[in-house]
C-alpha cells in the first residue's frame, strides 16, 4: 500500500545539508498496524508527514497504492487527502469555532458528499464513538480524551484506507490513552484500515503488529 524507496529529506544549512531522513526503504501493506518509534529528533514526524503528503521528500520515490505521488501537484494531493488518508494529531487540531458535529462533518463537506449522506455518516460515527450527547459542544468544552475521540472520528468519517497518527496519545493520561489505542486496534481489525502511528510509548506500540525503530534518520530493525 505504502512503498517508500530511498526516501531522503534534508534542509540546507549553511554550505552543507542537515539530513532528517536518509535512504529510507519501507513498505507498509494494506491492513497493517505499524508503530514508528524513536527518540526526539530521529525524523519520525517527518516520515509520517511524507507518507501523508504534507511534506515532499528531497530525494527518493513514494508509491501510494502503486502510484507515484512524491511529485504530485497540490490538486491531486488534495484528492488523495480527501479520499484515502485520514490524520490524527497529538494536539487534536480541532477547529475551535466549530461544534463536534461540524468538525466531524468537515472532510465530507470538502468531498462534496450530499447533505443527507453527510448527516447519516456523521450520525453513524457519533453513535459508534458514543459522543452523540456531545455533538453540539465546542472543542474547548471537552476533555483531552474526548477531543482526541472527535479527532479520530473526523479522520475516519470520510472512510480512508490509511490513518496516520502523530503521537495520538501524547497529550492524554494513561486511561484515555488506553481507550484510544483500543479504538485504533478495533478500526484496524474490524474496518481493515491501515494504521501508521508515531509514538514514544512502548505500551502503545504493542497494539500494532509491527514496530519500526528510527534513529538519526535511519531505520534500525
Amino acid at each position: 500500500m505504502i512503498q517508500l524507496q530511498n526516501i531522503t529529506k534534508y534542509y540546507p544549512v549553511g554550505l552543507g545539508r542537515n539530513f532528517i531522513l536518509k535512504d529510507i526503504d519501507l513498505t507498509i501493506n494494506e491492513g497493517e498496524f505499524v508503530s514508528i518509534m524513536g527518540p526526539s529528533g530521529s525524523g519520525k514526524s517527518t516520515l509520517l508527514h511524507i507518507m501523508g503528503l504534507l511534506e515532499e521528500p528531497s530525494e527518493g520515490q513514494y508509491l501510494f497504492e502503486g502510484e507515484r505521488v512524491d511529485k504530485m501537484n497540490e490538486k491531486k494531493r488534495t484528492q488523495l487527502h480527501r479520499g484515502s488518508i485520514g490524520f490524527v494529531f497529538q494536539a487534536y487540531h480541532l477547529i475551535d469555532e466549530l461544534t463536534v458535529y461540524e468538525n466531524i462533518e468537515t472532510p465530507l463537506l470538502y468531498k462534496n458528499v450530499s447533505a443527507s449522506e453527510r448527516k447519516s455518516r456523521v450520525a453513524d460515527v457519533l453513535d459508534r464513538f458514543n459522543i452523540v450527547a456531545k455533538k453540539d459542544l465546542f472543542p474547548n468544552q471537552l476533555s483531552g480524551g474526548q477531543q482526541q475521540l472527535v479527532g479520530i472520528a473526523r479522520a475516519i468519517v470520510a472512510e480512508p484506507r490509511v490513518i496516520l497518527a502523530d503521537e495520538p496519545t501524547g497529550n492524554l493520561h494513561s486511561d484515555q490513552a488506553k481507550s484510544i489505542m483500543e479504538l485504533f486496534k478495533e478500526l484496524n481489525e474490524k474496518d481493515k484500515i491501515t494504521i501508521v502511528q508515531v509514538t514514544h510509548s512502548d505500551v502503545n506500540a504493542t497494539y500494532g503488529n509491527r514496530i519500526i525503530q528510527l534513529r538519526d534518520g535511519h531505520i534500525r530493525s
Partner: protein
C-alpha cells in the same frame, strides 16, 4: 458549504471582539460618508432622466472670442438662433428657445413672491418630458400673455386647487394669465424655472424697453438658451453640421477682427453635472465637485480597508491553525480563499447596516430609502468586502498545513511587515497632511473673520430698499432716536459680487481703466467710517445729474496721479458718456473680500442703482431697534416680506465656517480610522510578543525599557508619516492660501502643535495596549506553553 462559511465567519467575528469592533466601526463610518456621497451622486446623475426623447435633445452653446483674445464657452446663444434653426433645416424636428429674463417679484392673490421665470414657446413641451397637471399642452401659449407655472409656485400663491385663468402681475413686465400648471417632474431638471411665459410677449416688452433688444440681436449672448430635438436617427453629427452653417453668420466679424462667435452642441445628458460653462442655468454641482466628493469618500473607505487588511493579516497567526486543518481535511486553496472573502463580505454587510443606521439617525433628511439606492449600496458594500478581503484571503489561503501545524511561530506572513508598515504610514500620512491643511484653512478663515478691512461693520443694519424713494425712507429712519447715521448704497462693502463695474476714461487715457464702484449717497463715507486722504465728500445737495465722484488711492494712481491731491478736480468720463469730476480720494480699504487685492474703485452718486439702506444703530436693545426700523419699512412696503441683516453677521457668515467644519469632520474620521487601526495592530503584536516580554522581564528588564521596545517601531512609523505628510500639507496649504490676496503666513508652529496632538493620541493608543502586556506576571505566560 456556503452555510458553513457563514457560520464560521460569524463565530470568528464574535470571538474576536476587538478586531470586529475596529473593523466594523471604521468601515461603517467611512461607508456612511460614502453613502452620503453616493446619494448625492445618484441625485446628480438623475438630472433630466424623464425626457422621452433625451437621446435626440441637444443644447446649442456658443464659443465666444473677444477682441482682446479672451475665450468663453457660453451655455447660452443669441436669442434669434432658435427661430433661424426652426426655419431652415430638414433634420430638425423641434426647436425651442428658453429666454431667462422674467425675473422679478410678482404679485397674485394678494401675495408678492420673487419669481424666476423664462420665456419659451410651445415646442418646449414637445421636446421635453414636462407634463401638465392642468391645462392643454397644444393651446398653452395661444394667448401671448399666458404663463405656465410650476406646481410649487401655484401652491405658494393659491394653495391647492386649479389656478388656470388666474393672473400674475409683474410690476415691470405686465400681467400674465396662468394657462397651465406643470407637474413636479420625477427628478431634478437643469430647467428649474418657477414659470414659463410665452415668447410671444417679448416683442412688446422690447418695444416698451422693459427688456433689452435681444430678439433681433445676433451678437448678444446672454440668458437665451436654444434646445433642438433632432429627427429620429439624426445625432450629434447632423446638428454640428447645421450649427457650422449657422456659425458662418460671424465670418464678417472675424474678418474685421471684432472677435468671433461659433456654435457647438451639447447633448442633454452632458448638461449635468455642470461643465461650468459661462451663463449656465443648471443648479447641479460641477464635475470638479462631484469628483472631489467621490475621491474623498473613496479615500476614507480605502483607509478603512487598510485596517481590515492589516488586522486580518496580523491576526492570521491565530487563524493559521484553522487553515492548516481545513487543508489536511481536504480543502483546496480556492475554498479557503472563498471562506475568507465571504468573511470580509459579511463584515462589510454588517458595517453597511451600521452605516445606514447611523445615517438615518444623523441625516434623516437624506433620501436613502429608495430601492435603487439601497441596491446600489448593497453592491457597493459587496465590492468593498471583496476588495478588502482579497489580500488577506490570498495570504491566509497560502499557508502550508505542515508548517502551520508543526510550528506556529515561524510563519512568514504575506508581504511581511513591509506591507503592514506601508499601510499604517499611508493612513497616518493622510491624516497628518489633512490636519496640516485643516489648520491652515481654519487659521486663514479666522483671520478673515477678524481682519480690519478698513470700514465699519459693527451695529450696522442692512435693509433692502425695494422701490421706495431713498430720501423719504431715509428721513423717516433718521427720525428714530437709535439711528445714528443712514446711507443708501448699491451694495454692502466686503461682500462678494456686490461691486459694480464701469469704465473710466481720462483725456490722456482714451482706452480707459475698469473700475469697481458702489452707488452711494453722501452719508456713505461717514456711516462706513472711511477716511478721505484728499478732497471732500459729495456735496450735500446733489442734483439728479451725476457730477462728482470719490475714488480710492489705488484709482488715483491708476489715473496717473502721483499724489492723491493731484487727482482732485480731474475730469473723467464714465462709460464714455457721463463727465464727472473727482472731488475726493479715499484711503485704500478692502471693499471686496480679502481673496481679492484692492483695485481702483469709486463711489458714484447714482440714486437709481441704490438697493439697500445701511443704518448705523446706537448701542442698545437690538431686537427693539430692528422692530422700530421694520415698522417704518413696512409702512413703505406693505405686504412685503421683511428681511434685514446685521452687517457684521452677514460678513461673518462668509468666514468659511462650513468649509472648516466639513474639513474637521473629515480629519476627525480619517484620524479615528488610523488610530483604530493602530490600536488593533499594537494590540495583536503585543499579544504575540507576550512570551518574549515575559522572558525579558525574567531576565531583569524594567517596565520603561519594555514599553520603549514595544512602542518604538510604531512611533517611528508615525514620524515617517509626518515627514511624508509635511510637504504634502504645506503644498496644499500654500495652494489654498494663494486664493487670498491677504493671508496668514504658513504657520509652522500651529502645524507642529497639530502634529503633537496627533502624536499624543497615537502614544495613548499604543500605551493603552502595551501597558497591560508589560504589567503581566511573566510566570503566567511562560508556564502555559
Amino acid at each position: 458549504m456556503l452555510k458553513r462559511y457563514i457560520v464560521l465567519a460569524f463565530r470568528n467575528l464574535r470571538r474576536q471582539r476587538l478586531f470586529t469592533f475596529i473593523n466594523i466601526a471604521g468601515l461603517a463610518i467611512s461607508m456612511a460618508v460614502c453613502l452620503m456621497v453616493l446619494v448625492s451622486l445618484h441625485e446628480t446623475f438623475s438630472y433630466d432622466n424623464f425626457h422621452p426623447h433625451a437621446g435626440r435633445i441637444f443644447r446649442v452653446t456658443t464659443k465666444v472670442e473677444t477682441t482682446d483674445g479672451r475665450k468663453y464657452h457660453m451655455a447660452s446663444t443669441p436669442l434669434p438662433l432658435g427661430e433661424a434653426i426652426n426655419a431652415g433645416y430638414k433634420d430638425v424636428e423641434q426647436v425651442t428657445s428658453v429666454y431667462s429674463a422674467l425675473i422679478d417679484d410678482a404679485a397674485a392673490n394678494g401675495k408678492e413672491i420673487p419669481v424666476r421665470a423664462a420665456f419659451t414657446n410651445e415646442a418646449f413641451f414637445r421636446i421635453f418630458g414636462f407634463k401638465l397637471k392642468w391645462g392643454n399642452a397644444n393651446t398653452i401659449f395661444a394667448d401671448p400673455n399666458s404663463i405656465v407655472v410650476s406646481d410649487n409656485l401655484a401652491q405658494r400663491y393659491f394653495g391647492a386647487g386649479n389656478p388656470v385663468g388666474k393672473v400674475i402681475r409683474f410690476s415691470k413686465y405686465g400681467n400674465y394669465t396662468i394657462s397651465g400648471v406643470l407637474e413636479t417632474p420625477p427628478s431634478h431638471s437643469h430647467l428649474d424655472f418657477d414659470a414659463y411665459a410665452s415668447l410671444a410677449a417679448v416683442p412688446v416688452l422690447e418695444q416698451s424697453k422693459a427688456l433689452p433688444q435681444m430678439l433681433q440681436s445676433w451678437d448678444q449672448v446672454q440668458g437665451a438658451y436654444t434646445y433642438v430635438l433632432m429627427k429620429e436617427g439624426k445625432g450629434s453629427k447632423a446638428i454640428n453640421d447645421l450649427l457650422a452653417v449657422e456659425s458662418h453668420r460671424y465670418d464678417i466679424m472675424k474678418k474685421e477682427k471684432r472677435g468671433s462667435l461659433s456654435f457647438a452642441s451639447q447633448p442633454l445628458n452632458k448638461i449635468t453635472p455642470s461643465q461650468e460653462l459661462y451663463d449656465d442655468i443648471t443648479s447641479s454641482p460641477p464635475w470638479g465637485k462631484v469628483l472631489t466628493e467621490a475621491l474623498v469618500a473613496l479615500g476614507l473607505l480605502i483607509c478603512a480597508c487598510f485596517n481590515y487588511i492589516n488586522l486580518t493579516i496580523v491576526r492570521s497567526l491565530q487563524r493559521a491553525k484553522e487553515v492548516g486543518i481545513q487543508k489536511v481535511n481536504g480543502a483546496q486553496r480556492w475554498q479557503i480563499f472563498l471562506q475568507f472573502i465571504i468573511e470580509s463580505v459579511i463584515l462589510c454587510f454588517l458595517s453597511f447596516i451600521l452605516a445606514i443606521t447611523m445615517l438615518s439617525i444623523a441625516r434623516p433628511d437624506l433620501r436613502i430609502w429608495n430601492a435603487e439606492i439601497l441596491l446600489l449600496f448593497l453592491v457597493f458594500s459587496f465590492v468593498t468586502g471583496v476588495v478588502a478581503g482579497i489580500i488577506p484571503a490570498w495570504s491566509l489561503s497560502s499557508f502550508q498545513p505542515v508548517k502551520v501545524l508543526k510550528n506556529m511561530v515561524d510563519i512568514k506572513l504575506f508581504g511581511g511587515i513591509g506591507l503592514r508598515k506601508t499601510l499604517i504610514v499611508i493612513q497616518f500620512t493622510l491624516s497628518i497632511a489633512s490636519i496640516f491643511f485643516l489648520i491652515t484653512v481654519a487659521r486663514q478663515f479666522s483671520y478673515k473673520a477678524v481682519v480690519d478691512m478698513g470700514f465699519a461693520r459693527k451695529d450696522i443694519l442692512d435693509v433692502p430698499l425695494e422701490k421706495t424713494n431713498y430720501e423719504l425712507i431715509k428721513q423717516r429712519m433718521l427720525g428714530l432716536k437709535d439711528v445714528e447715521a443712514c446711507t443708501a448704497t448699491s451694495g454692502v462693502l466686503g461682500m462678494p459680487r456686490e461691486t459694480r463695474f464701469c469704465r473710466i476714461r481720462t483725456r490722456e487715457n482714451k482706452e480707459g481703466i475698469e473700475f469697481g464702484y458702489y452707488a452711494t449717497d453722501n452719508d456713505f463715507i461717514k456711516t462706513m467710517h472711511l477716511t478721505l486722504v484728499a478732497g471732500t465728500n459729495f456735496p450735500a445737495a446733489n442734483t439728479d445729474q451725476e457730477r462728482y465722484i470719490v475714488i480710492n488711492e489705488r484709482a488715483a494712481g491708476a489715473l496717473g496721479n502721483k499724489t492723491p491731491g493731484e487727482a482732485i478736480g480731474q475730469n473723467v468720463w464714465l462709460n464714455d458718456s457721463t463727465q464727472v469730476s473727482i472731488v475726493g480720494v479715499l484711503k485704500n480699504f478692502n471693499y471686496q473680500p480679502i481673496e481679492v487685492d484692492i483695485r481702483p474703485m469709486a463711489l458714484r452718486f447714482l440714486p437709481q442703482e441704490f438697493t439697500k439702506l445701511q443704518l448705523k444703530m446706537a448701542k442698545g436693545d437690538k431686537p427693539a431697534q430692528v422692530a422700530a426700523v421694520q415698522d417704518i419699512w413696512q409702512s413703505f412696503n406693505p405686504g412685503k416680506e421683511w428681511k434685514a441683516e446685521w452687517m457684521d453677521e452677514s460678513l461673518a457668515a462668509r468666514n468659511g465656517r462650513e468649509v472648516v467644519s466639513m474639513l474637521s469632520f473629515l480629519v476627525f474620521i480619517c484620524t479615528l480610522i488610523a488610530a483604530l487601526g493602530l490600536l488593533g495592530i499594537v494590540s495583536y503584536t503585543s499579544f504575540i510578543r507576550r512570551k518574549e516580554i515575559s522572558v525579558r522581564k525574567v531576565l531583569g528588564a524594567d517596565v520603561i525599557s519594555l514599553l520603549v521596545l514595544l512602542s518604538q517601531n510604531y512611533l517611528k512609523l508615525i514620524f515617517i508619516a509626518a515627514l511624508i505628510a509635511m510637504p504634502i500639507g504645506i503644498l496644499g496649504s500654500s495652494f489654498f492660501l494663494r486664493i487670498f490676496a491677504y493671508r496668514v503666513s504658513l504657520g509652522i508652529l500651529p502645524m507642529a502643535l497639530g502634529f503633537l496632538g496627533l502624536f499624543v493620541l497615537a502614544l495613548i493608543t499604543i500605551l493603552s495596549q502595551t501597558w497591560a502586556t508589560v504589567q503581566v506576571n511573566p510566570a503566567k505566560n511562560l508556564r502555559n506553553d
